[in-house]
Symmetry: C2
Amino acid sequence: MLRAIVSAPPTAPPLTRRDFVRRAGRYGGGSAFAAMLALGLLAKNGSPVCAKEPAPGSGDGQDDDRRPALRRADGSRPRVLILGAGLCGLAAAYELGKLGCECEIFEARDRAGGRCWTVRGGDTFAEIDGPTQTAHFRPGQYLNAGPARIPGHHASTLNYCKELGVPVEVFNNVNDSAYYHTASLGRVRLREARADLRGYVDELLAKAVNRNALDRPLNRDDKEALLEYLRADGGLDPDLFYRPLSPAASGRAPAPNAVYDARGYLYEDLPAAGAHAGRLSDPLGFEQVLRAGFGRHIFFERQFHQQPTMFQPVGGIDAIARALEKQVAGRIRYRHEARELRRPSPWAGGGACVVVADLTTNGEPATREVTGDFCICTIPLTVLREIQADFSAPVREAVNAVPYMPTGKIGLNFKRRFWEDDDRIFGGISWTDQSIAQLLYPNYDYLGRDGGVVVGYYHFAEDAETVGRLAPAEREALALAQGARLHPQYAAEFENSFSVAWQHVPYSRGGWAVWNEEMRAKYYPVLNRPDGPFYFAGEHLTYLGGWMAGAFESAKAVVSALRERVAAGSQ
Amino acid sequence: MLRAIVSAPPTAPPLTRRDFVRRAGRYGGGSAFAAMLALGLLAKNGSPVCAKEPAPGSGDGQDDDRRPALRRADGSRPRVLILGAGLCGLAAAYELGKLGCECEIFEARDRAGGRCWTVRGGDTFAEIDGPTQTAHFRPGQYLNAGPARIPGHHASTLNYCKELGVPVEVFNNVNDSAYYHTASLGRVRLREARADLRGYVDELLAKAVNRNALDRPLNRDDKEALLEYLRADGGLDPDLFYRPLSPAASGRAPAPNAVYDARGYLYEDLPAAGAHAGRLSDPLGFEQVLRAGFGRHIFFERQFHQQPTMFQPVGGIDAIARALEKQVAGRIRYRHEARELRRPSPWAGGGACVVVADLTTNGEPATREVTGDFCICTIPLTVLREIQADFSAPVREAVNAVPYMPTGKIGLNFKRRFWEDDDRIFGGISWTDQSIAQLLYPNYDYLGRDGGVVVGYYHFAEDAETVGRLAPAEREALALAQGARLHPQYAAEFENSFSVAWQHVPYSRGGWAVWNEEMRAKYYPVLNRPDGPFYFAGEHLTYLGGWMAGAFESAKAVVSALRERVAAGSQ
């Protein structure tokens, strides 16, 4: 059985944490998959490690309508502390509530949602040791600073949207009209680069098929079917050439190019009425597209978690957090920071004891001890590392070991939607080989007359570290200078910006956990087991790293495990 | 210069109109492109026919802010009659209004919009010689019976939306979670078929590259770049194989398959929390995917006019027609059918004379003559053929010659959104080799609790003719029986249906004009010139056949031509 966990082969060079994160960052996107990739492409072999076929009724994190209330054999209910009111903490409290189990959530921030965070005009924020930024976006415009999209197959996220009445709209992950930009080629529409790559590649293969130069025998029918596919896929002419530039250049008669318009028309000469047949754009050269490295970005959208249809909540990603927050209203203590996680000895009561600092008071925060039978700790490992805790040695080692992805976004507020008006780009992503990496166009307020917020960079690993070290004004200058190479309109239309470097965000300190195979094998199982009264939960303890669905699946899994333990009577 | 008009080569077999339309229908989608394709793939050679580089200030159908009012040298304004209040007639009247020119529109139906038509609960309709159908869709649900989508580069359509305040939302044309279905293979998710096709094809080529078996020399760097692209595109393992089924089966060590999840996971075992790494689905065999003909559908979304981002107006496509209708309110005579188009001799006043029948009265409709200096005729050629008209012989021949695409849609109202709840399909298209051809899932009311309308078939040519001959109840039975092979939930969830066979729709009599190269060369220029006082306009006189943008571009072009003629003083 094939498994997502494969161990690094003995011959693979040892990777430092830094190397690994940097490689993972190359592949973009907020997914553990990107991270797996970085290592996977290096691995020559791998062997399946874990296998599971959950027994019926096992705590498998799936919904179970027959589940009993969460209580002990004597009918009493345990007291549960939850650390963190991010999506995982909120969902755990919500699910515990469904089981009749009260809990108390301690949240260091003055808001719920954690990384599920939407920035709007008037919002203020400071990174660790950074200046306070105030967002000046126009009314109705926003930046989803953390997660922003929901694949259609993330049922846990979409089911919460349905259950809690959060309306969703399409998030365009793929837009053929957006740009690829490289220093050498300038900007090219996605459709152009893709058609050229496909065209040349299909041409090469079609000719090899035609010459029977494959190492695989094909019968006559299969050969013809393959050629038909390649002709259609690549837009090849009857002689199996990818669209010649001109009859003169190729010495051949022109192909019926009119039938293959995947590469698109020149925007200044589109098909229209009367004699306006439109003018097809000319392909780049084979070597040009090959060397440009566009394939890397095409790969991005191929990922299972990046394929359409994808969604976003209407009005901002935090609609999900707010809807859950409403369900557990009154159970959240905001601005209460966990300082110590203790395990009192059995003769001192056992269970979990958390020292929390109340940041709502002026001056030195008052601390107090809160106790529970169990504690669900959703604090990111990067933050948990700095907290004193009575963890077992293996847990402590695991908490300290797992790296997090540095990542940053900047919202650029423009007074006109020039990307729509001028470039005919509606949503989606442009890619560049500069350190801004991606531009994400807003997937809302299409055709609007009051400007909009473009995500002026979204990057990872080294790019994010380098840019994250800059002050907000310097980040803005960098985003504007690099972005103007894709959109010269930047200078005339820019109004203001707001940027976030997640590795410097208090109580987050990173984008998401990055697992490599070795760590997944060594530390992941350790953290997925309770350490006495402490349960760990969050996107970092799933195969949906960086996704909101990870937080939700983890919440359900931990509540399920807790229910079973309590039912079994074990402390 | 490459042109979309290419003449058929002398060696091409002669195509009957029927053959041609049938072939065009194979490629799906409401575009002249699909039609061009049918012939284009047959053509071995072609030669550019028309070239244009519009002179500055020429009537090129583009917006021109400097355009003067439409009036004669003496300051008087011509009287213009418009036949048809479809999108082209409406837009022509609207644009004439901007030029200070009054007009009168005669519309045979009791509504504006023509083929731009949304059917909602309570609407009634009868095809020619057909029974009256009443739609029983739930409130808020609808069927866009004609056009349904707007590519982002159709600026004329989207600019009207912006100008007239019509909000738009994303139309999902591509959804990797939707199905391909064939009799032999059953149903397969789009992502699976695509990943398999790419994987095997890339494997073949990668191995050929590796063996230096190409007919094109590649230097070492380019070879490595190509292999890197193929590995990523196809998800190849380090040995350049597309994902082996198992180590045992292939005799090779397992590839690091975890890094390539484009083909997706089993929906019953998706990546989740804890040990739930998810289980990747197994590929089909190479010959299976090759013979299944999936490539044909992949090709569909590659077309320039079918690429994302695409839009639809919120609440139904007719929002566009209604917004334009509002602009020309009072100038439309509904239920006034053009019966004769006459050219009075100069000594009888000249200009255009149209005999219209007033269908609003009871009994035999009263007819009357209306006259104008010019007449813009947007009536589809299939309908115009049946109207007595003083056309020149070449125009008459052209009007009679051009075929229209038979096409049909059925809206199936279901009481539960099982395609979302159970199949995780949100919008997009499933394809089948049955005569229903396509299922289109609604791109609105996602996660809704009040069911929804699925387009249960959308087909062309022979499929549309065959099914269009059936009575509505028989069409419904066919759609349900075939559709249940993709969605067994049909039987339990179906409520009611409403179907349209466009070749039988009064005043439309077909989907859109289908041009082949020969007709484009012979008849298209004839109809793009005025015949005395008569101007012809509509999607059929553009290179945007079947698209709303065609109607708009044609309207602008005809108004532009009229303005020039009047300014030049010629009658």
